[in-house]
Amino acid sequence: MKALRTSWKHLRRSPYQALAAIFIMMQTFFVITIFSFVIYGSAQLIKYFESKPQVTAFFKDEAQPENINALADTLKTSGKVATIRYVSKKEALQIYKQQFKDDPLLLDLVTEGILPASLEISAINIEDLVTISDSLKNSPLVQQVIFPRDVIETLSSITSALRKVGMAIIAVLAVDAIFIMVIIIGIKISQKKEEIEIMRLLSATNWYIRWPFLFEGVFYGVIGAIIGWSLASAVLLYTLPVLRSFFGSVPVLQVHPIYLLGLLGGEIIVATILGVFSSFLAVLRYLK
C-alpha cells in the first residue's frame, strides 16, 4: 500500500514523463487492438466463405434427378464430403428470381428450362476439393464444375500476411515501448538517486525501493492499454456502418461485447507484463 502511494507521488511529481510513457503504451495497444480487429474480421470472412458450398456441379439438361441422386450417394460414401445439397431447376429459378427481383428485364429473359440443376458440396478437408471436383468432372452427367478454392486460398494468404505484418509492427512497437519506459523510469530513478541512497543508509531493503517503480511501470502499461483499446474500439464502432455496407451480406464484423471485453482483459495482462518487464529492466540497470 505504501509502495502504491509512493508510485502515485512519483507520477504526480513528473507528469510529462508519465504522459510520455502512457502515450507510447497507448500507441502500442492501439495498433494491437486494430490488428486484432483486422485479424478477427478476416478470420470471419474466411469462415463465411468456408461455410459456403465449396464445389458446385452443374448438370446437363438430360441428366435425370435419380441419376444425380445416385452420383450424390456415391460421393457421400467416399467419406470426403461434409454436406451435399441438390438444387433442382425449379429451385435454381427461385434463387435467380430472389437475386434479381429488382430487375424485371432479367427475370423475363430466364425460364426454368435454361437453368441447370446442380449439386452444392462441402468437403470435410479442404485438400479433398480437387479429388471431388475431378470425380464430378469425369461424370457424363456433369456439364461444368466450379469451386471457389482460389478465393479462400487468396483470403487465407492475405490473412496470413496481415498477421505476420501485424506481429512485426506490434513487436517493433513493443520493443520501442520497453526502451522508452526503461529510459523514463531510469530518469526517475536518477532524479531520486539521493533519496534512494538515504533510504538505503536508513535500512531500506532493495525491494522497498524497487516496488514503487515496478507499480509505476504497471500503471503506465495498464492505462496505456485501456486508452489504446478505447480509441481503437471507438474507431471500429464509428467505421462499422461503412464496413458493413461495403461487405454487404458477409458478416465480417459481428463484434460481440464479450469479444471486446475479452480483448481488453488480454491487453491488460500483456500491458502488466510489459510494464513489469520494462520497469524491472530499468531497476536492474539503474538501481545496482
Partner: protein, 240 residues
Amino acid sequence: MIVIQNVTKTFGTGASALIDVSLQIDKGEFVFLVGPSGSGKTTLLRMLIRDVLPTQGSIIVNDWDIVKLPSSKVPHLRKKIGVVFQDLKLLTDRTIGENIMLPLEMAQMGHREAMNRVEEILEQVGIASHKDKFPIQLSGGELQRTAIARALVFSPDILLADEPTGNLDMATSWEIVKVLQDINKTGTTVVMATHNTDIVNSLLKRIVTLEKGKLVRDDKRKDQVDKTTKEKDTTKDEGK
C-alpha cells in the same frame, strides 16, 4: 560491542583512508573520535554500517561480521545502528515527522504505532512542536535533533554521530551533546566524530585520535583511568 582489528582501507586511487586500525568499544561506552579533516573518521563510521568495506582487517559489530555480512542482511544491521550523518541526509520534501517515520515505514510498522513512536522520540529530543514542519523551516540545531531522532527511532544499540555539532554555535552544540549523553545513559553506545576540542576536553570520555588514517591515541575515560590506577595500587600494596 564493536571490535575493529587491523583495518586498512585503500581507495581505487591508491589513497589510504585508514591504515592498520585496531580498536575495541564496549557496550554502553561514549567515545569521541577526533582528528583533522581527512584523518579517516567518517570512513571508519561508514565501515561500521557497511557503507564502505575495509580492504584488510575485520570489523565485528555486536555479533555481525561486517566483512562477511551478506548484502541481504545489511538492512538488519542498519536497524541496530543509528547514524547522525555529517550532512544530516534529511529528505527536504518530507516533514520532520515523515522523515523520522521513514525507517519505521521501511520496517513495515503499522501507521498508528509508527506515529506514536515518532511523537515519543520527538518529545525525547525536544522538538515535538516541529513534527509537521519541513526541514527548511528549522534551525541548524533543530535539524540536528531531527537527525538524532531519526537515528534513535529503532532504539539502536549503537549511535554513530558524524560531526553533529559541525555548523552549530557553542550553546546549541552543548544542547546536542547533552541529548547524546542522555541517550548514552540509557545504555546506548555512542561514537561521536568531532573537531570540537572544547566539548571533547570538557567531558571526561574516551578519546580516540586518528591522524592520516592511523590511530595515534586512545585515551580512556578519566574514571576508567582512575579505576585502573586504583587496581594497580591495590596489587602493589598486597605485594608489600
